[in-house]
Symmetry: C2
Subunit: 363 residues, 2 copies
Amino acid sequence: MAVSPLALVHEGGTTRIWLGATALTDAASEVALWLAGRRVFVISSAAVRELHREALEGLMGTAAEVVELNVADGENAKTMSTVERLAREMVVAGGKRDSRVITLGGGTVSDVGGFAAGCFLRGIEYGQVPTTLLAQVDASIGGKTGVNLPEAKNSVGLFHQPRWVVSDARFLSTLPARELRQAMFEVVKVGILADPVLFELVESSLADLLTAAPETLARAVERAVSVKVAMVAADEREGDRRRLLNLGHTLGHALETVVGHGRLRHGDAVGHGMLFATTLAEARGLASEDADRIRALLGRLGMAQLPSLKMAPILEAIRRDKKARESGLAWVLPLAIGRAEIADISELTVEKHLASFLKDCLE
Amino acid sequence: MAVSPLALVHEGGTTRIWLGATALTDAASEVALWLAGRRVFVISSAAVRELHREALEGLMGTAAEVVELNVADGENAKTMSTVERLAREMVVAGGKRDSRVITLGGGTVSDVGGFAAGCFLRGIEYGQVPTTLLAQVDASIGGKTGVNLPEAKNSVGLFHQPRWVVSDARFLSTLPARELRQAMFEVVKVGILADPVLFELVESSLADLLTAAPETLARAVERAVSVKVAMVAADEREGDRRRLLNLGHTLGHALETVVGHGRLRHGDAVGHGMLFATTLAEARGLASEDADRIRALLGRLGMAQLPSLKMAPILEAIRRDKKARESGLAWVLPLAIGRAEIADISELTVEKHLASFLKDCLE
């Protein structure tokens, strides 16, 4: 029996999201209708395309023509030049306003491919097939697309919601353990913020999750995506509700800036950030029992150790980050496992707690 | 007494449009509020900026900081590289989500500057100060932004509606007569489509209009803009209503393609296109009296003569244009002065009429 998709209702319509181990099959008939008689551009990296070509073929049967467009793996491909090249290839291949785009791959492909779809002929429809755990629980939900400038990440782009997302759990079996671990910080974050059942699922099944046990992973993805869909639908353009998703990111971003994006991965950085947010929250009344459970789970997940650091540049990066968000977002703090708030905390208090939090690596 | 602006209601809110000889003054207090305490990027060409610096200064008083960004004059500046450069300059100058953009100039500046505003940090608000007649009656209404690819004009961009438009009639006094004449084809087009009073105004005051007599020109702009606002509001994303604005463009585009954009200007091409649409319409029942009035007015406006042409490439270009619009738009035809329809006409009929229409220049 086919499973019904989730529906994310937004300004421009509805995004249908298929999850689980039979997502591709479940979505096939609706995607076929959407593609019928159209030219479709499948944007992917060569490696991902080879890996999943067979799985995707079932979706493509009704398209008038399938055109493959390549994007290199990795953050370096997220540039305006890539968007321009994709658009030129789409023009040359006869792309029109009723042509379709499908992005197949991780966050890079959906960010840059979604942006290309959003500005080609002033916007054509697209669907997403995220093949990494992080893309399934993060990049594919919310319609954020974009590329980097040399001066700033994700600084050019669009809100362009896909018409559908197919997050098939079978894709995840090919992922290396280190990718699963990085993405799991995102899953734990959603549990802390809004879903105690998801938090417990990770607590009780961490080993299974990190070895990509299909059913457990599918359940975790389904819960994480459901929570995000609710948060994004309530608040498409980043009001307070959606901002809760920045738990762990205030210190996390500062650490990435100071240590260097190449040397500290995003998941690890957010892990440290969530640990610190827990410390701040405990000082404001978060029950020690909850704080201990968060610390224990993050400890089992295991963050990469921080190198030797100086306090001043970290505070400076936090200050700049806050200034960049003119609305003054400061700290997202857990109130309990499954609930969080946005709190304004003085710099002095932050510095005091940070000094003790980082004591083992401060120079 | 301040004049109330027009309001164009669209998906994302309302665009307020100030027209007439005191538009800048009338808009000043609302624009001041919109700018208060913000960083504003004024995108313009160096020449236009110098010409209108003083006029604009009255608008800028409340901004926290005014940053000037340059775009070269002319179609060649409408590229992805220009958008990327503008975005980088905005990042470097501290642009944030609550920063503002103002475009000051003709169609190029509003197309490329509006696109930059629409994708910088996934979209920030902008206002338009169109300084050419064509931009006042065309580019500034409807939220179309974009750039060219080497393979196709306006093929990358966004619908991004400005928050406000200030079309001050005083700007038009500095325009050369040849620019006014090109833009007047657009005004006549709107008259034929939807506004008999505007058509009569051009009939009775063509000489004044072509010498930029301020009050007459202001009245023509106001009527043309009002009609377009109604059409765009009814149909933001190019359904049939908005497509009526393509009167004269089916043959016009084909002539531009065959003769070359550099050798035949857009206004002239659309003029020839409208003349031909009138011929087709007459064969389907448009009253000869109306057809004659249209021909007479276009004749007085005077289109650049067409060079020697071959039939086959023109038909081919029309065919390609039709294919590119997958919804199959073919011909917009006047039903009377002030009313038009979209008609599907067989290629054979078109060819027959075109052979006679172009007989003086066919090889």
